[in-house]
C-alpha cells in the first residue's frame, strides 16, 4: 500500500475484498476473515508482517506479496513455518525452490510470461532483430530474459542489451544509444515504464515496442502517455478486456463498485483467494496446512483470468494472453490479440 509499489495496493485490496464479498464471507461452513498488511515494498518489512500474520493473527494461509524482492524473503519464512503460501503475479522460479512444497505460483514465472511473447514476436510479428532496454533487477532481467530466450531460440538476433538502473529519471542517454532493430523489447516497473515510453516517443524513435507483463502500463498510465501508446504489444496473464462471460460479468460489477477496471495484480489476488477457497471446499473446511497444500495441488478453477490449476511443484497452469494497447471510448486498455491456452506458465523444460 506504500513504497515503490504503492500504485498496486488499491487494486489488490479492492480485488481481495470483492472476492470475499462474493464468497459471502464464508466457505464450507467456516467464516472467512481477511487480514491485510502493508509491506511498504520492503523485504524486511514483508517478513515482519508475515511473521505477525502467522504468529499473532494465526492465519491459515498467506496470500502475496506482490513485489519480486519481497516474495522470496516471505517464502523463505513461510516454508520454515510450513504455512500455505499463494503468491501474487509472476515470480522467479527460484521462489519455488525454497522447498517444503507449500508455495504456489498461480500466475507462473517471470520468464514464462516473456517466453510466449518471444515466440509470438518472431513467428507472428516477423521480427528478426531486437534491441533490449530493461530495468536492471531480477524482475526486469527475467521477464525480458524469457522473451529473448524464445526469440533467439527461434533464430532471432538480439543486437543490443541495455540494463538500466532502477529509479532512472532520464532515459535520454539510453535512447540516444539505442541501435536500430526490428523491435524494442523492454520492461520496467510501472512508474519507470510510463516514463520510458513517454521519453521514447519524445525522442522520435519509431521501432515497435514489445513488453512482457504488459499491464505494468495501467490504463491510467497509457492515458498519461496518450495516443502514441496505441499499438504497443505485450503479454500478460490478465486484461479487463478478456472476452469471456465470466470476466465480462466480473469487470462490469467490479467497475460499478470501484469505478476503475480490475488490474492484473488485483485479479492475481482474486485468483489466489479463489484457489484457496476451492481448496478449503475440497477439504470440507479443514484448514490444516498439510490438507490445504494437498488440496491446492489438485484444485482446478475458473477465474476472470481463465482456468487455473497447479503442477505438483506448485507452478501455475493457465492462459497467457498476447495483448495490444487500444483506445476505447472511456479509457485506454490492453486488448487480447492471441492466447496460449492452458500452458505451464514457465519456460518449457529443454
Amino acid at each position: 500500500m506504500t513504497g515503490e509499489n504503492a500504485i498496486l495496493g488499491p487494486g489488490l485490496k479492492a480485488a481481495l475484498e470483492y472476492r470475499l464479498e462474493q464468497a459471502g464471507g464464508q466457505v464450507a461452513g467456516r467464516k472467512l476473515e481477511l487480514v491485510i498488511e502493508d509491506d511498504g515494498t520492503n523485504p524486511t518489512t514483508s517478513v515482519d508482517k508475515a511473521r505477525k500474520l502467522v504468529e499473532q493473527d494465526k492465519v491459515d494461509v498467506v496470500l502475496g506479496p506482490v513485489h519480486g524482492a519481497c516474495a522470496p524473503a516471505v517464502a523463505n519464512f513461510l516454508t520454515a513455518s510450513k504455512t500455505p503460501h499463494i503468491i501474487f503475479m509472476q515470480k522467479s522460479i527460484g521462489v519455488l525452490q525454497f522447498g517444503g512444497g507449500n508455495i504456489f505460483l498461480p500466475f507462473g514465472t517471470l520468464s514464462g510470461t516473456g517466453y510466449s511473447l518471444g515466440l509470438y514476436a518472431y513467428d507472428k510479428l516477423g521480427y528478426k532483430t531486437a534491441t533490449v532496454a530493461v530495468e536492471d533487477f531480477v524482475s526486469g532481467q527475467q521477464f525480458v530474459g524469457g522473451v529473448t530466450s524464445a526469440f533467439e531460440k527461434k533464430g532471432g538476433t538480439i543486437i543490443q542489451n541495455q540494463p538500466i538502473k532502477p529509479g532512472t529519471l532520464d532515459f535520454s542517454p539510453n535512447l540516444a544509444a539505442m541501435k536500430q532493430a526490428d523491435v524494442v523489447f523492454f520492461w520496467f516497473t510501472p512508474v519507470l515504464a510510463q516514463r520510458f515510453v513517454t521519453q521514447y516517443f519524445a525522442a522520435g524513435l519509431k521501432m515497435p515496442l514489445v513488453i512482457p507483463n504488459a499491464t505494468v502500463l495501467f490504463p491510467k498510465s497509457l492515458a498519461e502517455i496518450g495516443e502514441k501508446s496505441v499499438g504497443i504489444v505485450g503479454s500478460g496473464p490478465y486484461t479487463a478486456l478478456i472476452d469471456s462471460p465470466m470476466n465480462k460479468s466480473y469487470v462490469e460489477s467490479f467497475m460499478k463498485k470501484y469505478v476503475n477496471p480490475p488490474t492484473a495484480e488485483g485479479v492475481s489476488a482474486d485468483a489466489a483467494l479463489t484457489l484457496y477457497l476451492e481448496a478449503v471446499k475440497a477439504t470440507g473446511g479443514d484448514t490444516s496446512s498439510a490438507k490445504i497444500i494437498e488440496a491446492l495441488k489438485k484444485v482446478k478453477t475458473e477465474t476472470p483470468a481463465g482456468t487455473f490449476s497447479f503442477t505438483p511443484e506448485g507452478l501455475g497452469i493457465g492462459d497467457l494472453y498476447i495483448l495490444k494497447t487500444v483506445k476505447l471510448p472511456d479509457r485506454y486498455d490492453w486488448a487480447v490479440i492471441d492466447k496460449y491456452s492452458q500452458t505451464t506458465l514457465d519456460i518449457p523444460k529443454q
Binding site: P10, N174, R195, T198, A203, I225
Partner: protein, 286 residues
Amino acid sequence: MEVILANILNGLSYAFILFLIASGLSLIFGVMGILNLAHGALYMLGAFIGLTAANHWHNFFLGAVLAAVSIGIIGLVLERVFLGRLYKKLSEQALLTLGLVYIFGNVVMWIWGPWSKMGTVPAILSGAIRIGNFNFPFYRFGIIVIGLVIFVGLWWLHDKTRIGARIRAGMEDKEMTIGLGVNYGVISTAVFILGAMMGGLAGFLGAPIIGAFPEMSMEILLLAMIVVVVGGLGNVQGALLGSLIIGIIDTFGRAYFPDFSMFTAYLIFIIVLLAKPTGLLGRIKI
C-alpha cells in the same frame, strides 16, 4: 559525432533539471542552515498542484505560476510555524522534515491516488530538432534556457543586490548582522519561501520529462543532496556547477559505461566529499 552531440545536449538538459531541483535546497540549507529533508516532497507537491491547475485551465504557464506560489505559501507556513523555532537544531529539523515527507506523500495519495502523472509540453515548446537518428525535444532546450534564466536571476539577487549582501552577511555571521540592525528574520523567511518556490516550480517543469508520483520525494531529495554537496552550499554557482558535473558525467557514464551507471553519481559525490568537504564552491561546512 551525432551521438556525442546528443549526449552533450542530454547531459545539459538533465543537469538543468538537477539545478532546478537543487537550487532551492542549496539556498535554504546554505543561507538559513535549515536541513529541509522535505525539499523532495515540496518538489512532488508542486508537480501535482501545477499539473492539476494546468490541466484544469489548459494553461501551462498558469500551472507553473500556481506550482511556485502554492509551494511558496506552504513554505511560509512551514518556516513560520515549525522550522523557525528549530534554529541550529539539526536533529530536530531532520526529524520534523522527514515526518513531513510522509505526511505530504500520504496527502498526495489521498487527493490524487497512487497514479503517476506525466506533464504535457506547451505548444510553444513542442516538437524536436533532429540529430541523426535521434530527436532532441524543444522542451529540453526550454529547460536549459529556463534554468539559465533562473541561475542568472538568483546570482544577481545573491551577488549584486543589497538584499543579497545582507543574505551573505547573515551567512557569515548571523548575530553580527542582526546587531547591525538588519531584520534577518524576515530575510530568512523570504529565502525559505524562495527556496520552496524553486522546488515547486522544478516539480512542475520536470513533470513532462520525469513525471510525478507520490513516492518520489526521497529519490528527488537524494539527487538534490548529491548536487549541493558536490557543488557546495550557500551559492547558486555551486548548485549549477554540481548539477553540470553530475548531469553530464552521469549521462555519459550511462551512455558509454552502462555497467557502472548504478554508481557514477555517487562516486563523484564520495570523491568530492573526501577531497573538499565544503563542496567545490562551498562556503559552509556541512
